[in-house]
């Protein structure tokens, strides 16, 4: 962002904050303004000027083709679509390959040139590609990203700046279970109250990972009975397990019927998203393209990503539509 835009945004942030604080006392049935282009926690604060956020079609990008890939689950589809549609708006011709499979397959596709870029999680990349043991992944997000950046560089891959949100593990249960164990708020409390007489469901691999069950065993001294399953929240509903390993940006995390527990001992490593781009595709992307990528992921906080995931997993919408709606709501495209 250039300094003018930065200053403008900062000013808007301050204004918005001021109005929000002022509006707090009054009855805040927010969302009454539904005319397009009006953001409203407040009464009549100006929209971030649309022309500063709108993605401009750059004639220099015409004729350049980029292939964006993604792995095959909801959040990845959405991210792939967001990046693809944003780059299209900037004038690139974008091909999508949003079904790459596991991270090993995705990496092979990236290196082989089948895709130019795909979004990967920092924790996953470090443990799966660059032989960093999960207990050695730096807990600090910036440090782990820097480590990824330097490792990927040796692989001729550029790791784009990471997203504001991370999608790491989160221990979840229903309200009823929380009440049963005295409403703990952290995993430490949970371990103390529930102990080993409870059950935890998780994807099969959780059983043998130090950032999952093994870590819960050693770091929190919590040894629940493990149920290997792909069900997640379905397991909670079907009473297969009292707790499940959910993910931070799952749509279900926004539902009031589920409770999650804070990782107070910082067991789970960072899982921010970085668009891994092959070095020889970076010039094609250009500085403009890179800016588009960074701009378009800036509003993606955990809550926003969870909302987008909800639209796919819970409302059953198509990821491409959800991405388009997001880009429109954030004034990136019309």
């Amino acid at each position: 962002m250039n300094t003018t835009t930065r200053a403008f945004t900062a000013l808007l942030a301050v204004l918005a904050l001021a109005f929000a604080v002022a509006a707090c006392g009054s009855s805040s049935s927010s969302g009454s303004d539904t005319t397009t282009g009006t953001s409203s926690t407040d009464t009549g604060a100006p929209t971030p000027a649309a022309d500063t956020t709108m993605i401009k079609k750059d004639p220099a990008n015409a004729g350049k083709t980029l292939t964006i890939g993604s792995k095959n689950f909801a959040e990845q589809f959405i991210l792939g679509e967001i990046y693809s549609q944003a780059l299209e708006a900037a004038g690139f011709t974008v091909k999508k390959q949003l079904d790459l499979g596991s991270e090993q397959i995705a990496l092979k596709a990236l290196k082989a040139g089948n895709v130019d870029a795909y979004p990967e999680y920092t924790g996953t990349a470090l443990t799966s590609f660059y032989r960093v043991k999960t207990q050695d992944v730096p807990a600090d997000p910036a440090q782990s990203f820097d480590l990824l950046k330097s490792d990927a560089a040796k692989d001729n891959i550029t790791a784009m700046p990471q997203t504001p949100f991370q999608d790491t593990f989160v221990v979840t249960s229903t309200q009823a279970t929380a009440k049963k164990y005295g409403n703990p708020t952290t995993i430490s409390e949970l371990a103390a109250k529930a102990g080993s007489k409870t059950t935890l469901s998780g994807f099969p691999e959780c059983r043998q990972r130090t950032d999952c069950l093994l870590g819960l065993n050693s770091k929190y001294n919590w040894k629940p009975k493990f149920v290997s399953s792909q069900g997640k929240y379905a397991d909670l509903e079907a009473k297969q397990a009292e707790f499940t390993m959910g993910f931070g940006t799952d749509g279900e995390q926004l539902l009031k019927k589920y409770v999650h527990y804070a990782d107070d001992k910082k067991l789970f490593p960072p899982y921010y998203v970085s668009l891994l781009t092959r070095n020889d595709a970076v010039p094609k992307l250009g500085a403009g393209g890179q800016k588009v990528i960074q701009d378009v992921q800036k509003p993606l906080t955990e809550k926003v990503m969870a909302e987008l995931n909800s639209r796919v997993s819970i409302d059953k919408k198509k990821p491409e539509d959800v991405a388009a709606d997001y880009l429109k709501a954030a004034h990136f495209i019309k």
Partner: protein
Amino acid sequence: MSLPCPDVAGRHSGFVDAFDLIFHHRESISGGVCVGGPGEIGHLALLHLEVSLVAVVIAVLIAVPVGLWLGHIRKGEFLAVSVSNVGRAVPSLALLAFFVAFLGVGFTNVTLVLTLLAIPPILTNTYVGTRQVEAETVAAARGVGLTEAQIVGQVELPLALPTIFAGIRTSAVAVVATATIAPLANVQSLGTPILEPQTYGDAGQLAAAIVVALITLAVDAGLGMAQRAVTPRGLKVGTHAPERRRRFSLGTPAKTETT
């Protein structure tokens, strides 16, 4: 934290890596636990065989009596052949996921799914094999004074055994292959290395595929030997067999092999 197993990251690749995983334990890719080695792989193979065996046995206990009965009364072709055939198209992963809601995860769910998968070939082959027994033979047995049950047990069953076994073989192969999805319902099997890529890596997938293939071949060969052992001597080579089969006009015996 030091583990009693080596960290072999990057040392081997491809098939060599897969065999190394089968014979030597090693540290998992994401670290912190020892995996692989004949102890674990053998244990997983045993669990795999256990759930497969139970499923096939239950399928036999259900499908053979039904097939024998329908074949004996010469009715029910639609059920035994068509319905059965269509049962082969049911996607097992989806079935497993669907059943989780009603049966929960665990051995019962997995066994149910595998049993449902195993029934069609056995049912069809039992029906066809029984139906193929010549009417004259059955009439003669009746004339000699055998009861219906005795006819089924002493005349039709032995003659149908080769075909029945062929069906059991097909089922067993399908079940062993499908038991790889068991870990999704809390049952460990040789699917575990396939479903845990950050623990076992590419080597794990390859190793599991190799061991499953070997087990399938062994099961198939074993059942083949059992089939030859129970085939009445007069039917073994089958020079007269063509005559038998020609006379029986079922329309479409959906059987597999008889030799």
